[in-house]
């Protein structure tokens, strides 16, 4: 599969070079990515459960969603930054990786689901804020949970497929005595 020139040029950027050469960059960046992903999933899961009426009664949907989504967006931004850093050193390999492509599709679908919910279903929130959400809202909640679980699974799958450029130059000699 042909890889566009701009994807290949990402591999030549300074950040890509640094990620390739630094021994500790990848584990640290990956750890932050997992922390961010766990936070995105966990906070969205609380909102999705409320859309499904769990827990019943109690806190209004709008309050839960306002409290959680601040955290979600901060964590999502962190996930995008760290994800891009992981992508950069092997951009053209990831670009043609099926698990990577499917993950991007699942992310897009999760975003669309959220957008449709915000633009359409959320407009009538006044009538169900304190009670069981309507069917459209419950559907958005189920879809959100399924899509974000898919994103996590595909993300982990990338690491077990060819998310690595085996043709790249070998790393410099590493001295582990520190």
């Amino acid at each position: 599969m042909a890889v566009p020139g701009f994807i290949q040029s990402i591999e030549a950027t300074g950040i890509a070079e640094w990620m390739r050469l630094s021994v500790k960059a990848m584990p640290i960046v990956e750890s932050i990515h997992v922390l961010a992903a766990a936070t995105v999933f966990g906070t969205i899961f609380i909102v999705d459960l409320r859309l499904l009426g769990v827990p019943g009664g109690g806190r209004p949907f709008t309050r839960i969603s306002d409290e959680m989504l601040r955290l979600t967006w901060i964590a999502f931004a962190l996930a995008v930054i760290t994800g891009s850093m992981m992508f950069a050193p092997n951009a053209s390999t990831y670009f043609v990786n099926t698990a990577f492509r499917l993950k991007m599709l699942a992310l897009l679908a999760a975003g669309l689901n959220m957008m449709i919910f915000q633009l359409v279903t959320y407009r009538g929130v006044g009538t169900w804020d304190d009670s069981m959400p309507p069917r459209a809202a419950r559907l958005a909640g189920v879809l959100s949970i399924l899509l974000w679980v898919t994103v996590v699974f595909l993300g982990r799958w990338i690491g077990f497929t060819k998310g690595y450029n085996f043709d790249a130059a070998p790393p410099p000699d590493m001295n582990f005595e520190f």
Binding site: M26, G42, E67
Partner: protein, 171 residues
């Protein structure tokens, strides 16, 4: 420990897991979903103690909302974690990150259990501030979970992260 790891790796159960290419990624994925639930449930409880989340709700209500998810998530993580160990015993037992992770895990679970026991009957109501000790414990719990997450990923990079402290590749 190295002997035990090698014995475990040779058992038929471990050999079966090793032969299934989807086994490790699947279990690791469930493990990550689990940490999402555990970490955020714990974070909600800790932020309530710090007065930064659901300050209008009494502490026992917040605990009752999130603690069952936290403990159930932890059970899922223990089960997937044990299966991952059976699947790759030498990789886990020779990693310094693994042992440090288990240590932090034991500490964070203990602090959380004690926090719940102490605060459930004595927590100040909505609007009132928690004691300095409770707030310190809440911060410690969040920091420890972040450490557990980092160390979990570091198992894959044990030599790169720990150098000579790691026993990866020695057996």
């Amino acid at each position: 420990m190295a002997g035990f790891a090698e014995w475990l790796q040779a058992t038929s159960l471990s050999v079966t897991f090793q032969s299934l290419s989807w086994f490790i990624p699947l279990l690791q994925s469930i493990h990550i979903i689990g940490i999402g639930v555990v970490f955020i449930s714990s974070l909600m409880i800790c932020l309530r103690v710090l007065g930064r989340m659901r300050a209008d709700e009494p502490f026992p209500a917040v605990w009752k909302r999130f603690a069952p998810w936290m403990w159930s998530g932890l059970v899922v993580m223990l089960i997937t974690g044990i299966l991952l160990i059976i699947g790759e015993p030498v990789r886990e037992f020779t990693a310094f990150s693994f042992w440090l992770k288990m240590t932090l895990l034991a500490i964070v679970v203990a602090i959380t259990a004690i926090l719940g026991r102490v605060l459930l009957p004595t927590a100040p109501g909505p609007g009132a501030s928690f004691s300095g000790g409770a707030k310190t414990a809440a911060v410690a719990i969040v920091v420890l979970w972040v450490g557990v997450i980092f160390l979990g990923r570091a198992i894959a990079y044990d030599v790169e992260v720990w150098g000579s402290l790691s026993h990866h590749g020695e057996t």
